[in-house]
Each structure stands twice: as C-alpha cells, then as structure tokens.
Symmetry: C2
Subunit: 316 residues, 2 copies
Amino acid sequence: MLRIGVDVGGTFIKAGVVDESYTILHKVSVPTGGDAAYDAVVQHIAHAAELAAQAGGIAVREVASVGIGIPGLLNPRTGVVVSAPNLRGWQDVPFLDTIQKLLPVPVRVGNDANCAVVGETLVGAAKGCENVVMLTLGTGVGGGIVAGGRLFVGGEGLGAELGHTILKWGGETCGCGMQGCTEAYCSVTALVKQTRRAMEADPASAMHEYARQAGLVDGRTAFECSKLGDKAAIEVVENYCGYLANAIGSLVTVFRPDVVLIGGGLSNQREYLMDKLNALLPKYVFAASIIGVPPILRATLGNDAGTIGAAFLDRM
Amino acid sequence: MLRIGVDVGGTFIKAGVVDESYTILHKVSVPTGGDAAYDAVVQHIAHAAELAAQAGGIAVREVASVGIGIPGLLNPRTGVVVSAPNLRGWQDVPFLDTIQKLLPVPVRVGNDANCAVVGETLVGAAKGCENVVMLTLGTGVGGGIVAGGRLFVGGEGLGAELGHTILKWGGETCGCGMQGCTEAYCSVTALVKQTRRAMEADPASAMHEYARQAGLVDGRTAFECSKLGDKAAIEVVENYCGYLANAIGSLVTVFRPDVVLIGGGLSNQREYLMDKLNALLPKYVFAASIIGVPPILRATLGNDAGTIGAAFLDRM
C-alpha cells in the first residue's frame, strides 16, 4: 500500500507518495511559510500531503499513513514538538494531535535527521545495516542513530542531538549558546567561518578570487581551492576534517556502528571528503588498532532520505 | 534460585552468591594474579566462583548461572575478550568458551562497568529507571548505559566506552594514546595530575601539608583542601567539576537518561561533588532551559554493583 512522507524544512515542505519498495512515485514542494502562525504552518504541512496525493491521482485517505519529519526537538511518541528554531512559535506544541485532525489516516512524526537515517538504512547507503550513525552537515549538524536495527532516539525521544555534544572544552560558542559543540566546528556554517578567518589572515590566498567569482564564501570555497593547491585552503580543509573525524570517532567509540554516513550539502565533496575522513578516523576511535573502524560513506538518497524515512518511521 | 556474580579486577576477583532479591548472601575475594598466563587467571576466576558457593554451603552446580564482569573490551554475545589492559595477554581470547568448560552451569560475561550499571539499575540508585548513564571514576573512566530498560553496548557489544569520547579537541594525551579523551580529564588519575600541577604552581597551597600528612597526593587532596578554603585547591575542584559536568552534559544530550550515576572512589565526596555537578549540568546540556536535565546521583552499591549486575546480566 502507498504511504506519504513529508519533510518539513525551514523554507520548503517536501512531500512524496512512496511505495512499498521505498520508491517516491510523486513529489511536491511548497513554501513552509515558517514565519506564519503555528496553525497556518500545520495547514501548509497537511496541504503538502494532499498535493502529493493529488499528484499521484489519489486522495490522502487512500494511503496507509502519513509520516512527517520536523526540524526540531520532539517526542515521537506523544508528538509534542518541544522546540523548532526555524518555525516561529513552535515551543511545546501538540503537533501530532493538531495535524492528525486535518488528515484522515494515521500520522507519525519524527525528527528530520532521524527520518533521514531511517531512509538511508532502509534503502540508501546503509541498506541492511543494523547499526548506523549519520551526520547531516548543513546550517547545523543533524544526527541520526540506528542501533540494533532500531532508530535510537534516547529518553522521551529527545536525545541523539549529535550536533551538540562537546568537541572542544571551552571552545567556539555554538548557535545553541553552549561552547565547543560539534556543530560549532563541523557545520557548514562553521566551515564558512573557518574559511573567512583564513582568508583574512592570508590576503594572497586563491580563496579571495574564487569567492569573488562565485559571489560568496560558502562551504565550497576552501574545498575547491584546496584542490587547486592553495595553502591556506588546504589548512582550512585539514583542520575541518580533523574536527569532523574526531567527532565521528567519539560516536564510533560509543555506538560502534557498521557504517557512518555523511549527508547534507557538504557530502557533495564525495571521495575528496570521504577519503580524508576515512584516513583520519582510526586516530580518533578507541582501540581502533585492535577492533578496527567502520567505513565513512556518503549518504546516497539526498533530500529523498527524509521523505522516505518519514513515510516508513514505523519500520525502525 | 541463587546465582553467582563475579567481578574481575586487575588486583582482586570478587565473587558472591546472590539471591532473587539481588542480595549478596556470601562473598569472597581472591587475588587475580593478573600477571599469570591466561589459562591460570581463568582458573582463578572459576575458583572464585567455587569459593563463593562453598561460603554459602553449596556447590556451583546448585546455582542457576554464573555471571562474570571483565575489565576490558569484550563481545558479550560471543564472549571473546578483545582487550583487557590489566590482564596480561588477554587479547582476542575466547573467554566464555574457556571458562564455560570449567563451570557446570550457564555462564554469561559482560564488561565490568556495564555490570555495575545493571546492578545499580536493578537494585541501586537508579532502581526502576528505564534510561540510565553511569560513569565510574577511578584509575580510568568506565561507562555503562541503560536505554529503554536494556543494557546498551553498541555494535558487537564493543561500544559505550564513555571514557574515550572527546572532551577537548587536541587536549591532554590519554592512556589510550588518543588526545583529549574524557578519561584524560575526569579520571582520578587525571585529577591527581591536575592537583600536582596546581601544587607545583602554588608552593603556599595547603595541599602540600595535607599531602605530606596523608603520605601521598590522591583524589582526596584537592577536594579536602578546597573544603578548607584553599584557593589553589578550590580552583582544581572547580575545573575538574567543569570537565566532568561537560562530559556528562554531552551524554545527556545523546541519551536523555532519567538519571546519571557517579560511581568509583571519588563518589565518596558525596553531596560535595554531586551538588557542584548538578549546579553545573544545565550549562552543558542541549536545550536544558526547555527540556530540563536529569539529576546526577551517587551510585549506592559500591563494589557490590558489579557482582550483582554480573549475576543478573540477562535481566537487562
């Protein structure tokens, strides 16, 4: 039977009709309108599900269920969203109750990064794995964990916030207000900050010309210039990969996954990034020389991971 | 029916006969002889179980099972001990197979810190909790996790090595060879190092006289002198508690336990330590102002936690 998966982002809501073989048959994207009132945004989400159904020539009541990934902290069992920084006023809102009234089939909800790891484990880069750690590198760092074949979300479903574990005691201030979080070193936002600092320190770096032509400094600046041999860019990339490999190393020491997945925009650096991380990882994993380390792979489903995972949250 | 629990340490093997209400009825302690050959140490362990039974006036074959906690990295399912630094030559040894041949009832094995969290959750400070994180502060930092009412050990049972997650990127070298591990800041060994440094920097500190009278610098030196108002000692304790609270904060962010337990010798500082940690914790937990933080409590079973937990490993 068909299902609908919805991936709610700060800017767009993506919804898709997904079949039992985890293929997205039809998909739509509508603006989130994240600045609107809570009720209005919930209606946008329900509407996205309806549009996806329409795109497939069916009605929502004809699918088995709707699964929704939310960019925030939520209890997947009660469906209460405790906090969602990109959606105005979403603090302690009974999201599942609210949206269930608007949709005629059972609704499930989950954190967006958790939906992504479910999708990748069901049909993506970690297909068939029992233990998976996934980091999604973007504006922030999202985390998802599959342990023993089940989605691991911690007590009350509020854990697995892998972007906000300590990487450097007393280090950089994170967007969350704490110091030294993984996100403050490993997000694309952090990489851009590291890139800007290196550019300021080296006016002769090729990164200046690259950024001028691109019209901005972004997550590509240092990576692309490092490929061209620019010394300052190479240093930025080396440091960044060291931070990220160390953060991954600690997760491996705790979870011992079969595979570590990297998702988000930066994963487009493909082997250039993965080769560096895989080379560094043994340095940062406890007893690596004795028990080895898992491979770090690029997530393969891209944006679809969240939609597929949301639709099949109950499979893990 | 009775069971036998065995807690293997680097120096002593403790064994006890435990009843269904988790009470240790009889206990014995024998030297580990950790420098002896593998087969000899395994025989010491089997002998400790036999002595415990004898102390209770029974034979090993009259108990339901024997559970054994090992200070090392092991796969609890296969019973292979991958590494146990305090037991000479214990690398990739088929411990469960070897000892099962010496004992006439079913044997189970687990990591010692994991046995401790099982004991504390069944009958100690975390009794009745579904989600528990426990740190045992001693020569090293041992970790145990109960998640969703089950012992969490990671893939192949080799995870949950909470002493070797990153606390400070590029920081102090740890005994394991990595840099900046939690153990390198939060073990009693690390505290002693921090204490010595502060004493060297401040010849007028009351810690010098305290250590002279005690005959050594140990985990008590800074704590006891801080209670007397010694400035250098207060600074050592404040820094140490900051490290530990930050390490705990990251574990809370990932596992969202109902309670965090502190075991090991340093937990004898009781409320003096727990009050400081509980006061600091919200600073280091993601979204603490919204979702709160769990209490940090002193483990209450002491050395018995490992024996009881080993005997009842199958309960979690």
